[in-house]
């Protein structure tokens, strides 16, 4: 099949011109992101190269424990990054780990048990990465929403506590808003999928010469699974985090 996408090293080098454009705009407009941009590019190249070799190896040896180890690393990294968005919320790493592990794990188990995907590294690893990264973004946004709302709406929360509300009742609107905020990007992209973006996985399959109908079915499955996973992840993160805004005497911290 010669419709397959092959990027030659030379083509890649030429694509670097695109990065130069970004750099030029940066310098001209004094955006002050030059360093971030360079670090980003270098990291992307190194990380992807390493992962490329690692994946090749894992797919070739095809053992259960190595596959699971790779999934564990992905989950750990996702949780670590989500935690960084949590600000001062206590225990956010454990919470994130719980959220990402549960959301990713349950979704994978579902997909494997209905045979939507097979338990082989070539399928498990990329799907886990996709789920975990979406859950990471969702929980990060949920944390941020909790932090801003517990600051902005402090008088409301105090008022509800003074009226004798329990912690859940005192936080009611803030909980809802945080979960909504976490899910918003996934819902938005579910609404526009195919119209605005052709998601990476589907494009990849079509690039690789797979029948577009099959690629689309895969993408529908991915959309479902991301909706489920991000809602579950946000839910767990928010429900484990909102009580941490109060102390043992049920007072706002």
């Amino acid at each position: 099949m010669n419709s397959q996408l092959i990027v030659s090293p030379l083509a890649l080098l030429l694509a670097l011109i695109l990065v130069v454009i970004a750099l030029a705009i940066n310098l001209k407009e004094a955006l002050g992101m030059t360093q971030d941009l360079i670090v980003g590019v270098v990291r992307a190249v190194i990380q992807l190269t390493v992962v490329g070799f690692v994946l090749t190896y894992i797919i070739k040896v095809n053992t259960v424990w190595l596959t699971l180890a790779m999934v564990a690393i992905i989950i750990f990294n996702a949780a670590w990054n989500a935690k960084k968005r949590a600000g001062t919320i206590p225990d956010a790493f454990v919470t994130s780990l719980l959220a990402v592990t549960t959301a990713t794990g349950l979704t994978l188990i579902m997909l494997v048990s209905v045979r939507a995907i097979r338990f082989i590294p070539a399928q498990i690893v990329p799907i886990s990465g996709m789920i975990a990264s979406n859950v990471m973004v969702a929980t990060g946004l949920a944390y941020r929403s909790l932090n801003t709302e517990f600051t902005d709406l402090r008088p409301q929360v105090l008022e509800r506590l003074a009226l004798g509300a329990n912690l859940k009742q005192a936080s009611q609107k803030l909980i809802v808003n945080a979960i909504k905020t976490g899910m918003a990007p996934t819902i938005d992209s579910a609404k526009t999928v195919g119209l605005v973006s052709l998601p990476g996985m589907m494009s990849g399959l079509i690039f690789a010469g797979i029948d577009p109908t099959k690629a689309i079915m895969y993408q529908i499955m991915v959309t479902f699974m991301l909706l489920g996973a991000t809602s579950l992840g946000s839910f767990i993160a928010v429900y484990r985090s909102y009580p941490r805004f109060y102390n043992d005497q049920k007072q706002l911290r």
């Binding site: 709406l153 008088p155 409301q156 009226l163 004798g164 509300a165 329990n166 005497q249 007072q251």
Partner: protein, 216 residues
């Protein structure tokens, strides 16, 4: 029996104490007014009495037992703190008034809400009004009513009439008098001199301590 007994009660979140070594008995049934300049620690005192804050040292007894013996949620339903600038959080007045019912898993009888509004000179049609459009005096009255549907044993009133027009003040004082006659203990704080002549029992808070601590 006293509603509250404060023993060497200090609240010092930082090095400087906001309230310093206070000893005070507040009897049941009293209508007490505490005066003090802005920043003297009046709101802090009421929040301590409401368990929205905890003393950094010393104790507060409520009905003879340390505050920590009580479940904070049930305690706050008995000892109700009405904030200086109450936050309304519903879309309509009805949403706001419903909250005390919602947290007790019951429905708000519409007639009861309408009667409550009329008892403080508000039209019962206000029930469906958006809270955004309310004036300061209207907000304060709606907020107060929220604390009265399930009568508490103590009302802690944080400058609830400050900045309101004389008519609204009169309506609110009238409402509070009725609550006190029903046996509800009132602890009000104010920095408004014009309120003081009506005080039945008056104390003054200066530099984190009470000037005179003799109560009827």
């Amino acid at each position: 029996m006293n509603a509250f007994e404060l023993h060497h009660m200090t609240f010092a979140p930082t090095k400087t104490a906001i309230l310093n070594d206070i000893n005070l008995d507040i009897p049941w049934g009293i209508d007490l007014t505490i005066a003090g300049h802005s920043g003297s620690g009046k709101s802090t005192l009421l929040r301590l009495l409401a368990t929205l804050l905890t003393p950094t040292s010393g104790t507060i007894l409520y009905n003879g037992k340390p505050q920590s013996d009580y479940d904070p949620i049930l305690y706050r339903r008995e000892v109700s703190y009405c904030a200086q600038q109450p936050a309304l959080f519903g879309a309509t007045v009805a949403d706001d008034l419903r909250f005390p019912f919602t947290i007790r898993n019951t429905e708000m009888p519409r007639e009861q809400a309408e009667a409550a509004l009329e008892s403080v000179d508000l039209a019962k049609t206000m029930l469906d009004a958006p809270t955004q459009n309310l004036s300061g005096g209207e907000r304060q009255r709606v907020a107060l009513l929220r604390h009265l549907f399930f009568p508490p044993k103590v009302l802690l009133l944080d400058e609830v009439t400050t900045g309101l027009d004389p008519d609204t003040k009169a309506v609110i004082h009238n409402l509070l008098d009725r609550q006190n006659k029903k046996g509800i203990t009132l602890v009000s704080v104010t920095h408004d001199e014009s309120e003081l002549h009506m005080a039945k029992n008056l104390m003054t808070l200066v530099d984190g301590q009470f000037e005179e601590v003799t109560l009827a």
